[in-house]
Symmetry: C2
Subunit: 219 residues, 2 copies
DNA sequence: AAAGTAATTTAGAGGGATCTAAACTTAGGG
DNA sequence: CCCTAAGTTTAGATCCCTCTAAATTACTTT
């Protein structure tokens, strides 16, 4: 049985593990808001319990066991976020703190019941995928922003065009990977798209631009 | 800000405070599953923070501040129990452990939203009253078991008749204060009542008996 | 009212999580 | 290729909660 803190460390390591690179002590201390010294202590403990591979001064990575654990925490966090937004009418940007607490509630049965109650969602309100009970990440279907129906919400996953001009333009609009977008209207005349970014800014982009933005619909 | 443990102690003291008598160290250690020594330590701390009145060797009682705190925890616990039973289809006797964890989630807003989502219930699945946001306990309406409609659920609150014969009879039936009862049928001929006790045993009691059992309906 | 027993508190210690300060390792720049 | 700066670990301490064992207080019983 893991303590809340141990779960948080494992989750942090999971989120910091991009492209199989080893995760550094300082990076962990930053996201956890602790000192590197505290992280070192904890890494030793997690290594003893075989949740991570750890070589002094070389950074860490999750073992199979650690990854399984991390995915369960992520699953719980994201399911609770869906609950807060869908059922309790929270805004998608208000739910993180509360889900940070709820994710540590221990009860397998509770999570399965919650999952059913929420109709087994595959992504959370931010558009992030929800691992299933076995810890498998669903493959999110991706479409072009130009293909999203009116009132459809989605999360920006990437761009098809990579020219500096295009990227700078998106930057100016405030659109980046991870942005939440909602199509509010589509102009029939030229297929340009009116959308809301991160629930705040409303703007119009041309069909040409929309065709180059990959998004993942949020049910 | 209270720790989970402090909240649990305060809640325990609250539940042990019947008829204004002082609560003893041993009693607390028993319900908390700790040693009296641990309790003594904690009492000193809670006293320093003015949640309790505490004189060595004399037992403790809650201050205004402590009582307010206790009622908030009780409110959260009972609201979550309603959620688990009403929304996630748990059985009323499976929810306590999980609610013990959920009651410590910190977010005023969450609890108010949950309360609304559940249609502001006044009692939990066990029939215990739910304090409102100000910490006021609702006065539960009490009726006689003989007056409860068919399919009505209620909690046994007390008896009108106190003769040993009557009490022994109830004992044999497995009916006591706190029992959950559900009226499954009423015989028109003699108004005797068929009921289920604690979701398990089904039995029939005469109208005469039903007239002497006070119950509080669970919505 | 004294003695014995039960309840309670204190003393001392340990595990978990954190910190600061100091020591150590790694890697990049001169 | 060495040296320094950045990154990391160790040492030593603190806070929270718990324990066991010993000391103290309160209560009961004769």
């Amino acid at each position: 049985m893991l303590t809340n803190t141990e779960e948080n460390y494992i989750k942090a390591i999971y989120h910091l593990s991009v492209d199989n690179k080893t995760v550094r002590t300082n990076a962990i201390s930053e996201v956890m808001n602790t000192t590197p010294a505290s992280v070192s202590d904890m890494l030793k403990k997690l290594s003893d319990k075989s949740y991570i591979y750890y070589e002094k001064y070389q950074g860490v990575s999750l073992t199979k066991k650690g990854k399984t654990e991390a995915l369960q925490v992520v699953r719980k966090h994201r399911l609770w976020e869906v609950f807060l937004v869908e059922k309790l009418n929270f805004n998608w940007d208000e739910v993180h703190e509360i889900a940070e607490q709820l994710e540590h509630i221990q009860s397998k049965l509770l999570i399965e019941r919650l999952d059913d109650f929420l109709d087994n969602p595959t992504s959370d309100p931010h558009g992030d995928p929800i691992p299933n009970a076995k810890g498998e990440m669903p493959v999110l279907r991706q479409v072009l922003l130009s293909e999203l129906e009116v009132n459809g919400k989605a999360k920006v996953m990437g761009m098809k065009e990579h020219s500096p001009a295009f990227l700078q333009y998106l930057d100016k609009l405030g659109i980046s990977i991870g942005s939440a977008v909602k199509v509010t209207d589509r102009v029939v005349f030229d297929a340009s798209v009116e959308l809301k970014v991160n629930d705040k800014k409303t703007m119009v982009v041309s069909h040409e631009v929309a065709k180059n933005i990959l998004v993942s619909p949020i049910d």
